[in-house]
């Protein structure tokens, strides 16, 4: 059965092609971005002051590069049309919410304020950079096929690791909120839009500019710090470090705005009857993530600003020779960095708990417990950051506190597990592809969580810190926790977003290959780490060679599984194009009750919610109008 509404063909625009290319669009944006970059480069070279004398004597000019990047980003945004509205507001023109929501494929290549378009943009854009990060991982594993540097030099190796890690940490923070929360949260709330549609579009385009800038670090010598950007190496590094700084600062701004928009939407735009206790659990997880984004990301931006000032105008925040301290950076970074890892994990919790009821045909077990678990994680994640610094030489008296607070976080995290288990208990589940990915989460995150106890425990962390053990731990939580649920969400929701369905066999092949290869890649790394292989170094003891070869081959199979996914997407979405049934998963959630594709305004009439979302048994009521929104 198909439910595709008859879509009127778009009116062909009479204007000639060249005329359509002139205006605020991606082409103009790229042109102004490049222009801005060179203008900034030129201006940066003109600036000089006493403290910049050092810069003038070398070919390194961080001022020029930072100014160039900033001008480039501003030009890019102006080209997309982001300056038009602020200028018209400056002149007193009235507020408006919607922009460029016309028909046609063109909207996907520019500023568009339709939350569904932004969701699709995010999915493709983030997918692209995820792919680049993945290619870097393949290069890392290629180098590690040998116990001595062969394929890339030691300096390039650390750059590669840094680019991989930073790209993944920066881009995937919005991996689920970007595509799926932007697309589905307004629908789940019964709203027609996000609270601030233009900001929503801005977060996406900032992220794209950022990804491009991080990739450009290869032209400036890369950066030697890994994703954490530690001082004093940060200050000593070549210009490639500036790419890292601008990348992460833009990601921070994007993240903060994304979180702000999500929170404002969820708090103020729930349809009548959608009380807090009826909110889908996915929306709760988005809310918890958004809190972390709004509060943690500004600290990152401030810290990177200090680092940039140290590198350019020679302030001495982090430079002991001038009265600063590199520990200041490490503390500030992890004050952001630990919430960051929960920004990655929480949306995954939400996806799993949202999907399990659908495939087990049971209500979510322990809804309130799950919510309190998410909020508990959110709160506690601000009080654990020094567990990253146990072996750095911090005051030893601080360690017990951070050890305890970290281990306490496993309690609310345990709630999430309990809810997943309770929902699965005695269920007659159907093992569709999204469900398989959710079950894989249960397995992977358990290993990630249990190994976390060892790195949070100060005595054992002294031997696991900085080793491949830690590396394996966080890949189990991030890749096993976030990326598996990311794919669950793709297989579950993309059919709704495109109206087309994936090839089931290829999808299953993707799942099994990914699941097996993932474990085969990362499980041995615990052992390799215990045997002493350090992170971020391409040379290792020869007796670890066999295990490393095993891991690299597994990693290549893991890469292959991603190619199968891409092949499936191209095959199913571009060539075969089988339409999806109205509600293929027989979900009770509201997004599956409205037509596919979703109309621009989502709902012709504001829906009224009169049951909780996991109430398998009674139909959801969509219809009747009641104009007043839900009270807070």
């Amino acid at each position: 059965m198909t439910t595709t509404a008859a879509v009127p063909t778009p009116q062909p625009t009479g204007r000639p092609l060249w005329r359509r290319l002139i205006g605020f669009n991606l082409l103009t944006a790229v042109a102004l971005g490049v222009g801005g970059y060179y203008l900034g480069w030129f201006i940066g070279h003109q600036i000089s002051a006493k403290s910049l004398a050092y810069q003038e004597k070398t070919s390194e000019n961080d001022v020029a590069l930072l100014v160039a990047y900033l001008f480039g980003v501003v030009g890019f945004l102006i080209g997309l049309g982001f300056a038009n509205y602020p200028v018209s507001r400056l002149l007193g023109r009235p507020a408006s919410l919607r922009e460029k929501e016309e028909e046609g494929i063109g909207r996907y290549f520019g500023l568009c304020t339709d939350h569904k378009v932004v969701g699709m943009q995010y999915l493709i854009g983030i997918g692209l950079f995820f792919f680049i990060g993945g290619v870097n991982a393949m290069l890392i594993r290629t180098e590690l096929l040998h116990s001595t540097p062969t394929f890339v030099g030691p300096g390039q190796y650390i750059s590669l690791v840094g680019m991989h890690g930073t790209m993944m940490m920066g881009m995937m923070t919005s991996g689920i909120l970007g595509p799926f929360a932007n697309y589905f949260v307004p629908i789940m709330l019964g709203a027609r839009r996000m609270a601030f549609p233009r900001i929503e579009a801005l977060t996406f385009w900032l992220l794209m500019a950022a990804g491009f800038i991080l990739t450009s670090t290869i032209f400036f010598g890369g950066f030697p710090t890994g994703w954490t950007g530690y001082e004093p190496l940060n200050d000593q590094a070549v210009m490639g470090m500036d790419s890292y700084i601008i990348f992460f600062a833009l990601v921070g701004i994007s993240m903060c705005l994304l979180g702000l928009n999500m929170m404002a939407t969820i708090i103020t735009m729930r349809a009548p009857g959608l009380t807090w206790s009826r909110l889908p659990i996915f929306v709760w997880s988005v809310l918890a993530t958004a809190v972390l984004m709004v509060l943690a990301a500004p600290v990152l931006v401030a810290t990177l600003t200090m680092a940039a000032l140290d590198r350019t105008i020679d302030t001495s925040f982090f430079i002991p020779g001038g009265g600063g301290s590199s520990y200041l950076f490490e503390n500030l970074f992890w004050f952001f960095g630990h919430p960051e890892v929960y920004i990655l994990a929480l949306p995954g919790f939400g996806i799993v708990l949202e999907l399990l009821p659908v495939f087990t045909r049971k209500p979510l077990w322990g809804y309130r417990l799950a919510v309190s678990g998410m909020l508990g994680v959110t709160l506690l994640s601000f009080f654990v950051w020094q567990h990253h610094l146990f072996v750095s030489g911090i005051n030893a008296d601080l360690r017990p506190f951070y050890m305890l607070s970290t281990e306490i976080i496993s309690i609310p995290t345990g709630f999430i597990f309990l809810c997943a288990m309770g929902t699965l208990w005695k269920a007659r589940s159907s093992f569709s592809v999204p469900m398989l990915f959710c079950l894989a989460w249960v397995f992977n995150f358990l290993i990630g969580g249990l190994s976390g106890v060892f790195v949070s425990d100060t005595p054992s962390d002294t031997s696991t810190h900085g080793s491949f053990f830690t590396m394996a731990h966080f890949h189990y939580t991030i890749m096993g926790g976030l990326i598996f649920t990311f794919f669950a969400a793709i297989y579950y929701w993309v059919p709704k977003m495109t109206g087309l369905r994936f090839n089931e066999r290829l999808a299953k092949l993707h799942f099994w290959l990914m699941f097996i290869a993932f474990n085969s890649t990362f499980l041995p790394l615990f052992a390799i780490g215990m045997m002493g292989q350090p992170r971020r170094v391409s040379q290792y003891a020869p007796n670890l060679h066999a295990l490393n070869t095993w891991v690299s081959i597994s990693a290549f199979v893991l890469g292959l599984s991603m190619l199968i996914f891409i092949a499936n997407t191209v095959y199913s979405m571009i060539f075969v194009r089988l339409p999806v049934a109205m509600n293929p998963w027989r979900s009770k959630s509201i997004e599956w009750q409205i037509p596919t594709p979703v109309p621009v305004y989502n709902f012709e009439q504001v829906p009224v919610f009169d049951s909780d979302p996991y109430d398998y048994g009674t139909p959801i009521h969509v219809g009747g109008t009641r104009p007043e929104p839900a009270g807070a």
């Binding site: 009235p94 702000l260 600290v299 002991p320 009439q605």
Partner: protein, 221 residues
């Protein structure tokens, strides 16, 4: 077999509103509440942003690496600093007055709001003058670093807020000249002026409080 998916070419996954379907306008209080919540969240984000500087200040001051925290001659200009924070506080008070007048239904609220903008910009100017007068630069130790970066970023925040406040005044003045503009998507757009002013005033008062903390920490401690 003609694939039924032909109704779904790429790029048209979101169809337009079918002809004849009338989309009822959104209740204005949705936008109003979103603005109010957003201004609170923005205040939270701003707090955490400047918290990083407060942390840097006390951290570096307490460890005083190699006694390089602050040399004797590094003193900001008290007169200019006092004048600048005075402008900020006065401006915030004017903004609050303007918000009260708007709520009381008075039509004269744009005057104090405009005054607030002018005073806010004066604060920025005073701080810039101070940079040219002071006898130290960002390279003169940890205190000097914190001072220069913190005040500069605070100024950027003030500038942004003054822009925001200016848009309220400008919107009101234009709405008086060209009454009842509708933008189609949020009903009568001028209904949003009141909540927008409210949100701006809240944020500006909050930022001014951060300014007072900044002043106390950097000038008085």
């Amino acid at each position: 077999m003609a694939s039924p998916s032909e109704g779904l070419p790429l790029g048209r996954t979101v169809p337009p509103v079918p002809a004849g379907v009338e989309i009822p306008p959104e209740p204005p209080d949705v936008g109003a509440r979103a603005l109010s919540v957003a201004s609170r969240l923005l205040a939270g984000a701003t707090t955490f942003f400047f918290l990083a500087f407060i942390f840097a200040y006390f951290y570096l001051r307490s460890i005083n690496v190699e006694h390089l925290w602050r040399h004797g001659h590094i003193d900001p200009n008290q007169a200019l600093g006092g004048a600048m924070i005075g402008c900020v506080v006065l401006s915030a008070i004017l903004a609050i007055v303007s918000g009260r007048q708007m709520k009381a239904g008075s039509r004269s609220w744009p005057a104090p709001a405009a005054g607030a903008v002018v005073l806010g910009l004066a604060a920025v100017a005073l701080q810039c003058i101070e940079y040219t007068r002071q006898h130290f630069g960002p390279t003169d130790g940890a205190y000097a670093s914190v001072f220069c970066a913190w005040t500069a970023l605070y100024l950027i925040a003030v500038l942004g807020t003054m822009y925001w406040l200016e848009t309220q005044v400008a919107t009101e003045l234009r709405a008086r000249r060209e009454p009842a503009p509708t933008s189609g998507d949020i009903g009568r757009a001028d209904e949003l002026i009141a909540p927008a002013l409210d949100a701006t005033v809240f944020y500006w008062a909050f930022l001014a409080a951060i300014g007072v903390v900044t002043y106390v920490v950097l000038y008085l401690l």
